[in-house]
């Protein structure tokens, strides 16, 4: 049952999430890490425990900030977009934006600021180009709803839909170096045609 088919190895999980496992693999031990939209600080607490990183987080929702600080993570309560200008250039080894890019009002500004503040940036986002999304849109004629995009159009936090190819095209235009890329469908790695087959993409990028 758990045996992975050839070419599609099963990715391990951290806190039940394969994108976290990838991020956990990317982050070098002892580095300085900023997690944007860090929620309860799950990932940061894991990185502190297992990678001895110096962790900082930014989160807007009070209850999440409270829980994150209560577990010992130094979180700043504020908007991601407004908080970045206060950090100096190259302040962090890694800046993480996990599953949040599509919710940003000005994603370009956030990406530029991330690349300024961090020596490396980790950007993980749901791939709007996945075949299920395309299929849902094609057959229903409605705003697509899938496991990954479960919201009605009117209450979705996602306001900028992007695909793997969209991101790669932007990176090429901006001359950002894509150092590593990982593609996931569920808990399995995707190696072929990620724009069609990946549900989640994780990129390691630098200026």
């Amino acid at each position: 049952m758990n045996a992975a088919p050839p070419g599609r190895p099963r990715v391990r999980e951290i806190l039940g999430r394969s994108d976290y496992a990838i991020i956990g693999e990317i982050i070098e031990p002892g580095s300085r890490v900023l997690d944007l939209g860090c929620g309860d600080g799950d990932l940061l607490a894991w990185l502190v425990e297992h990678k001895q990183v110096e962790a900082r987080g930014v989160e807007l929702q009070t209850a999440r900030v409270q829980r994150a600080i209560a577990r010992g993570v130094s979180v700043y309560q504020g908007e991601i977009e407004g908080s970045l200008p206060h950090y100096p250039d190259g302040a962090f080894d890694y800046v993480i934006l996990s599953q949040t890019l599509q919710e940003m009002r000005r994603p370009m500004e956030v990406l530029r600021e991330m690349l300024r503040v961090g020596r490396h940036s980790v950007v993980a986002f749901p791939n709007f180009g996945h075949w299920r999304v395309r299929w849902s849109h094609l057959v229903s004629g409605r705003a697509p709803r899938t496991d990954l995009f479960p919201y009605s159009w009117f209450d979705s936090p996602n306001i900028h839909f992007l695909t793997v190819d969209d991101f790669l095209e932007l990176a090429a235009q901006q001359r950002w170096a894509v150092e590593k890329s990982y593609f996931l469908a569920g808990h399995r790695a995707v190696s072929l045609r990620p724009n069609l087959l990946a549900e989640v993409a994780v990129f390691l990028v630098r200026k």
Binding site: T62, I69, S74
Partner: protein, 370 residues
């Protein structure tokens, strides 16, 4: 937990104004036990009108401490894990040397002969107390309002003497508005003929002036919303307006009660001196910028503000926090939702306890690791 206030005597203290106080006494209380490596001590620093009695039931008065909801077994500041110290500030009237203390040069109370003291002076005296208790490095210095000023002053003046600071509902310096409210309080006292240039200790204290000062203070500690909830336009023990200048509204009765009650426990001259210390406080004094001052800070910081606090608005905490972020210091910040205004740091304790508990635990763990 029954506690008593103790007095620690010291030979002398040099003040920012150039004067030397000799001798000087500090009233303090402690809760919990100091551990063997003396790494679990936390200094609680109090707000303007409070005292050394932060927690427990006082052995003489039977009253609970001003932060009893935050300090105790299993509470935000857990007395089963930490050794807590709280002292009355210099210039106060609750046991520590202040204007109502006896001036050794005259044998009479100092009155206005007491030198003007600063937050920096208060902190230097606290350092002497902490040293005398055998604690070389505090796990934390924590306090709200003027207590937050002292916590910040500690972090900048003695960067190696604390592992963390918890400044709550505070500022790095008073704005014109904050100075203005303090000045109204001072003028109310000094306009009372009973004040007699501060020489009232053998006669009647300026009770009316001090009560008015306290009334103004109380308004600034609440919020429009909390006053609306608590009083609204409710009338006091009557069904119709009195068409006179007696008490009509509940809020009038409350302020008068709070004002008159304050007179029994607080010295008018201390009011003048301590508010002056608040107004003089400027963390960036002596430095080109606030950042240059905060650059000295080495400890972790947990800053908390409250959404309805208009006396020490959130933007003042944010100014400190954002400066620390620019300096890449280890800072956590939360703007807690509350309707209680500035008083929130004393009453809105559920969320505050949770984050303080976790922040202290992780700070203690970090020390253990190193």
């Amino acid at each position: 937990m029954v506690v008593e206030t103790r007095i620690a005597p010291f030979d002398s203290l040099s003040l920012d104004c150039g004067a030397i106080l000799a001798p000087v006494e500090v009233a303090y209380e402690t809760y919990g036990e100091l551990n063997s490596d003396k790494s679990n001590a936390i200094l609680l620093v109090h707000a303007f009108s409070l005292d050394a009695h932060a927690a427990g039931i006082h052995s003489e008065t039977g009253k609970p401490g001003w932060w009893d909801n935050m300090v105790g077994p299993g509470k935000g500041f857990d007395t089963e894990r930490y050794f807590l110290i709280c002292s009355n500030v210099l210039g106060g009237c609750r046991g520590t040397t202040g204007p109502s203390s006896i001036n050794p040069a005259t044998g009479c109370p100092f009155g206005m002969a007491f030198p003007v003291v600063t937050i920096g002076d208060m902190v230097r005296l606290q350092k002497m107390l902490v040293d005398s208790l055998g604690v070389r490095r505090l796990l934390s210095v924590a306090g709200g309002s003027m207590g937050g000023m002292q916590a910040l002053e500690w972090a900048v003046t003695y960067p190696d003497a604390l592992a963390s600071a918890i400044p709550i509902a505070t500022t790095s310096r008073h704005t014109a508005m904050q100075i203005a409210f303090n000045e109204v309080g001072r003028q109310a006292i000094m306009a009372d003929p009973d004040w007699s240039n501060g020489n009232y200790y053998s006669g009647k204290p300026p009770a009316r002036g001090l009560a008015v000062a306290r009334m103004v203070g109380h308004i600034t500690y609440m919020s429009d919303e909390s006053m609306h909830q608590k009083f609204g336009r409710r009338l006091r023990e009557k069904d119709a307006l009195g068409f006179d200048f007696g008490i009509d509204f509940e809020v009038e009765s409350y302020l008068r009660y709070r004002g008159s009650q304050f007179v029994d426990r607080f010295d008018a001259n201390s009011y003048l001196y301590i508010t002056k210390a608040e107004d003089y406080f400027d963390l960036s004094r002596g430095y080109p910028t606030l950042a240059a001052s905060l650059e000295r800070l080495r400890c972790r910081v947990l800053a908390i503000s409250f959404t309805s606090d208009w006396l020490y608005p959130s933007y003042q905490s944010l100014e400190i926090v954002n400066t620390l972020r620019r300096l890449l210091r280890d800072v956590a910040y939360c703007d807690l939702p509350s309707d209680y205004g500035h008083d929130a740091f004393l009453v809105e304790v559920a969320e505050q306890s949770e984050i303080v508990r976790g922040f202290l635990a992780s700070t203690a763990k970090g020390i253990g690791r190193k």
